[in-house]
Symmetry: C3
Subunit: 225 residues, 3 copies
């Protein structure tokens, strides 16, 4: 019933080893983060993210999954282990996939189905399965996207948390998807570290706005990607 979640790793960014430098793009490659609960002896695991392409056309095999490929490549650059999935624009299918995948991933990014039409149901599916919303993330994506095009404000994207997994809707267009992810990048690490716990507010107070990593995350909103 539910869509398959592939655990295939995505190809590295650029055109290979030196590609990033050769093309003038600077790839931020942060230290891998240990998965919660793993012992110190094993090599540290990369956080796992799932990219879900929501598209009738891609699901039917009549359309290339450019947005999904781009997002997976960028997440790989950011140090995530990336899984992929594709579902048609059907609410029940999307919900099933999110429910099944939340437990095994630190983050799920969906691409597509956030537009104005009745066929766009990704936000409704997301709202149905999250435990609570994180409204600032869509606000940030729309405000940042609005600097490129006012159409960014038509995205009905939702973000929220289910089982400590951060679920974020991105637009379906390649440019919109990557720009939205770029808007989140300055706060993504902090968000996922917070969600990984522990939840002792006295050690790591909620809403703490001066973490040790502040200098890095205070980079300008628009990072070259």
């Amino acid at each position: 019933m539910a869509a398959k979640v592939g655990r295939r790793r995505t190809v590295p960014a650029g055109d290979g080893q030196g590609g990033a430098h050769a093309t003038g793009r600077r790839v931020r490659r942060p230290d891998p983060v240990e998965a919660a609960g793993t012992g110190g002896e094993r090599a540290p695991e990369r956080r796992r993210a799932l990219v879900v392409t929501v598209s009738d056309g891609v699901a039917a095999g009549v359309r290339q999954d450019v947005s999904g490929d781009d997002l997976a490549r960028r997440l790989d650059e950011l140090g995530f282990g990336v899984d992929r999935a594709v579902v048609p624009d059907e609410r029940a299918r999307i919900e099933q996939l999110l429910v099944a995948a939340a437990d095994g991933h630190a983050m799920i990014l969906t691409a597509g189905g956030t537009g104005l039409t009745p066929r766009d149901v990704t936000p409704q599916a997301t709202q149905a399965v999250i435990e609570y919303e994180v409204p600032g993330l869509p606000e940030l994506m729309r405000a940042e996207g609005g600097r490129s095009t006012p159409y960014a404000y038509l995205s009905r994207a939702v973000a929220g948390v289910r089982q400590r997994c951060l679920i974020v809707n991105l637009p379906g267009s390649p440019r919109g998807a990557l720009e939205s992810l770029a808007a989140l990048e300055p706060i993504l690490d902090h968000a996922l570290v917070t969600l990984a716990g522990p939840f002792d507010h006295d050690l790591a107070p909620d809403g703490d706005r001066t973490p040790a990593k502040a200098s890095r995350t205070r980079a300008p909103h628009h990072q070259s990607s």
Copy 2:
């Protein structure tokens, strides 16, 4: 029970034929859009919009409907066929009107009832009848309005879709109503074209941010009105 929806056309903008030029205002008069389903032989129909003034005072005849008049005039300039309605600040009445009118209009703009008091119920009525929200539109209206006055952030305006009709709450003050509409203008055409369908995501992908009309809609957010 439900308020009457008048199908009277509004007067043209400015002081007549040459008024727009005479006063130095540039009136954007886009090509009329064919209503969905009409044949190619008939003269193209203008998209129909409904302006709903929500006001106890206007409904009781003791207050002039300045905001409604201004909105109707501006929509006429933008190429819409405009209907008008007036309801008091009563939630059931507003809901009935929206439900009755959604089918026959591409867009419904309400003016009034978005403030902080218990008597302001337009957002609640709107939320009760829409199929899904379009949260970026109120965000955009508040952010743009906030450039003129921070009070713009007190508007509880909601936007959403019912039966492919885009319903947007605007503030009740003439200035707030017109400024909010101005904030939406760069994306209104694209939103209504998208809602009119068809919903084939492969031909017209959701969230597509580079439509053919991009050059026109990329105009600065604040258009002279």
Copy 3:
């Protein structure tokens, strides 16, 4: 069962009488506002605000309530009579407190419990007890906070109205709490005057954006605090 609401007045701001000037900080001290229903003969009462610190650590007595102290001091400067309360991060306890306190206060500010973790439940508790949301206030706090740090967008703060009492969630960090309050200050007076009524839209139209006090409230968003 419910947390106690202390009616102790907070200490004045600064280091005493001349402290504000001595330190170069300009303290806005607006005229006190008469409480609704009091006669003209009595000295005008200050509007009452409640500061609720939501924190397991503060409630257990193992952590200092810096945010609560800072917020109370600032509200005193702004002319409010300030009450204080502390609750742990438990949804039922927060809801009980908000319900009990809404009737006696013009405004309740919570501090804490707005982060990403499952232990952060202040927004959910707030949503459960308000009659309607005022979404622009969190939008404004996140957008203004985002000028200092992108982490401001991780706040899940909610604002709304219950029994004419404006309830606003602020982040738990001292800096985040004070900056969020500062973002609201330009519109706070207008919001509370509106909520105090009367609700005659024809005398005081909802959404009126040109009130008599406009010149003062049009001050820049970021006020020195």
